[in-house]
């Protein structure tokens, strides 16, 4: 448990990381390092997108599954680890 906490802290302290959000399957954020409105916004928007991405992968081969999702935009990069129980979302500013 402490290890996990430590890891999260390390993430947070790294260059460019804007925030970390953990969301459960319903879209309710469990843990977040950012302020609440931003968090909820991100969580809600991500949810359907992730489901869509997952269904795309799954549709073609049901044994396949989505392991990682990355959206790179001008401002930042959003990385999502989808899982059955939760989503882990990290937003980072790319160094370049």
């Amino acid at each position: 448990m402490a290890e996990v906490e430590e890891t999260l802290k390390r993430f947070q302290s790294q260059k460019g990381v804007q925030g970390i959000i953990m969301v459960n399957t319903e879209g309710i954020p469990i843990k977040s390092t950012m302020d609440h409105p931003t968090t909820t916004q991100y969580a809600n928007l991500r949810h359907s997108f992730i489901l869509n991405a997952r269904s795309t992968v799954h549709e073609i081969d049901p044994q396949n599954d989505l392991t990682f999702l990355r959206i790179r935009s001008k401002e930042n990069e959003i990385m999502v680890v989808p899982d059955k129980a939760y989503f882990l979302i990290v937003i980072q500013n790319p160094t370049e």
Binding site: M1, V4, Q14
Partner: protein, 850 residues
Amino acid sequence: MTPGKHSRASARAADAGRWGTGTPEAAREGGASTPPPVATMPTSPGNSRKQQNLWLSVGPQAKKSISFTNTARGGFTKSYVGANQSRMAMSKTMTILPEIKTEKMNISTPKTVIQVINPQGDDVTPRPLYRPDPHMGTAKPNKLLTSQEGSYASDYISSYSLYQNTLNPSMLGQFTRSVLGSSTVTKSSVSTPESIAEDLEEPSYKREKLTSFTDLRVVRATPEKVVTKEDLQKTIEITLTETETLRFFNLPTIMVSVESEEAEKLLRRNKNYETLCRNRLGNDLYVERMMQTINGAPKNKDVQCDKIIKEDKGVMSSTWDLYDSYNAMELSSLAAKQSMLESTSRASIPPKDREQRMPGSTTEKNSEASSLMDIENVILTTIHDDEEDHSETILKSDKFRQALFFMERVLMENLFQPKLAAYRQLRILKEPEPEEPADFLESKKLEESQEEGKKEEEEEIEISTEQSTIPAILERLWSFSCDLTKGLSVSSLAWNKINPDLLAVGYGHFGFKEQKRGLACCWSIKNPMWPERIYQSPYGATAVDFSIGTPNLLAVGYHNGTIAIYNVQSNSNVPVLDSSESPQKHLGPVWQLQWIEQDRGTTGDDKREILVSISADGRISKWVIRKGLDSHDLMRLKRTTASSSKKGGETEKKGEALISRQAPGMCFAFHPKDTNIYLAGTEEGHIHKCSCSYNEQYLDTYRGHKGPVYKIAWNPFCHDVFLSCSADWGVIIWQQENTKPFLSFYPTTYVVYDVAWSPKSSYIFAAANESRVEIWDLHTSTLDPLIVNVANPGIKFTTVLFAKQTDCLLVGDSDGQVAVYELRNMPTALDSGQGDIIDTLLGPKSNHQG
């Protein structure tokens, strides 16, 4: 019976026809001129026959066999003639005999009764629930009879009878009930009609017949034909056909050979049976008895139930949806086995929910599965309501850790992308060499770097044209460091043999007095910010090496002489094996460790891997992992004095009072080809060539250094040449046969801690001394290093290690950092002549590998 039945039926019809003059069928039948009193007809047998008729006519006929109220009615008692006759009339109208084409049917719709016909032609008239007293009907038929004399349209009669005798369902069986709600049969003639009715019920009426009947009822369009006397007396052609034989029961005889084993039994059985049959008549065992069953009085009971709320639910399901839901079902059942309260309740919820949902769901398979999935989702969410409170369980779960792991890697990649790309030489895009195992991260990196690399490639091309003037440089890419390692100095570096991304670093304090804690860390290239594994210990780690045969084993040597072997697959801090209890453990710091695969040689066994260590207590031991860590001394390093160089063996002058006879060993190096031979460097400055076969004597001694020899390295290409560095500020190149130094370098006045040959070229080596890292290229110059990289003040470089496949150099320093440098712009002539170092330097001489 079969052939006769039809005729009889027709005869009956004919008879009937005579009575009911108004019926067209009767008219068609013609010749029906028997007098009304049918009492002459025998009752029961006739009935039975008629029943058969009835039955028959029902059976084979397809549409037309609305054969219920048949001519059989004719066998009724006289008292009910009227009624009978009306019945008969009805029956006549309703009879459809096979010969007679009676598409237009019997009972036409009464004009007064409203009929509801649905589009298919079925009669869906609501049937009246009221049944008038059947006896009432008996009076009226008399009237009917009288009217019958005239030529009536059959519908009249039918309508009349319809009125009166609404229902006697028992008579006509299902048919009438459903069709008309009217039967012409009254209850008055109970016995026979009932018996008939029962028989009527036997044949299986098909619904089609029923509907056809109603159809026919509706469709009736023939105009009524007036039956004249002539018609009645017309002869009618009746064709008799035989129906096919219908088998109802077939019990084939079983024949058993007399000789078989069962014959005995069978014979006995047959005999028994015969005696039984014979005895049956007078036997007490068989008594004729009648039984009466008591039929309970039926009672109507009304029940009111709650309204069943139905819900239509539709879900779009896809193939993965189905797959998931099936998997989830299995998973949930598995979880139930794991005897967690929650999970058992979880498992019990699905069946319940399923039942509840069943009525609501459609019968399609798809939606059923997805409704199941909904159930699963519901369950999962309910569980997560529980788990939200215990979000720690999520956090603790392994998957989460893994997710974090990936995330970290990705973050790192983002941060260090250009550096990593340089490391992996991804910018050289002509032959993109993804040196790593396929990793989705890698592929992404490739894509990204390719995009960026293109620009830089152009730059590079421009640069390379003017390359000759640009000196080779060491470009610092990044460094492995973290808080944990700050302040410690790097003592050793080792690559993993299988995974070229994994690096083991040993840390410790090497001041003379302080003995602080030490660390051994495993770093991965993919994550320069935090080590993958951390093994802490109270002593400084002085040597690390990965095993070749079992690449997950990491051997760490400590400053107190213990050797510990860790399994890097696990994260625990406890070593798998430890030599601290071994009686033969080292008493001084273990300065070098190496795993060697050694041929057993004479015994012909496979290569066996041993761990060889050299320590300051003057022993070179080899450790074998059998049940524990077993050690065996390969060599005891004895002190030699300077004057004994002639013999090459060890001598000891008695005159010298030595404190200890052992010479602390600092380093060793096994010959790349012959694993029996190795070199050992001591604190005295001597390098001894030893063999594993002898543990007392040296084969040879190389003297040249004046201070402790810190590192020895064989040239990977030319196996005669090796390199050594020592605290006397010097780096010396030796040739194997020559005990005198071949070439020596004294570039600075600092202690040289480490040297290493480059794996790419036989001319290049790197040396790390206190203040700087030097890259020497013997091809270019033997006087000056090719590249010099000066350290930051206060930091000493302690170790160097080349990266195997890339042009990178790792340098460890005294601050706990391992910096990764890329060698850039190295002279390109390096690729050739890997083995010709001797030739180049000395002129032609043998013993070099091509």
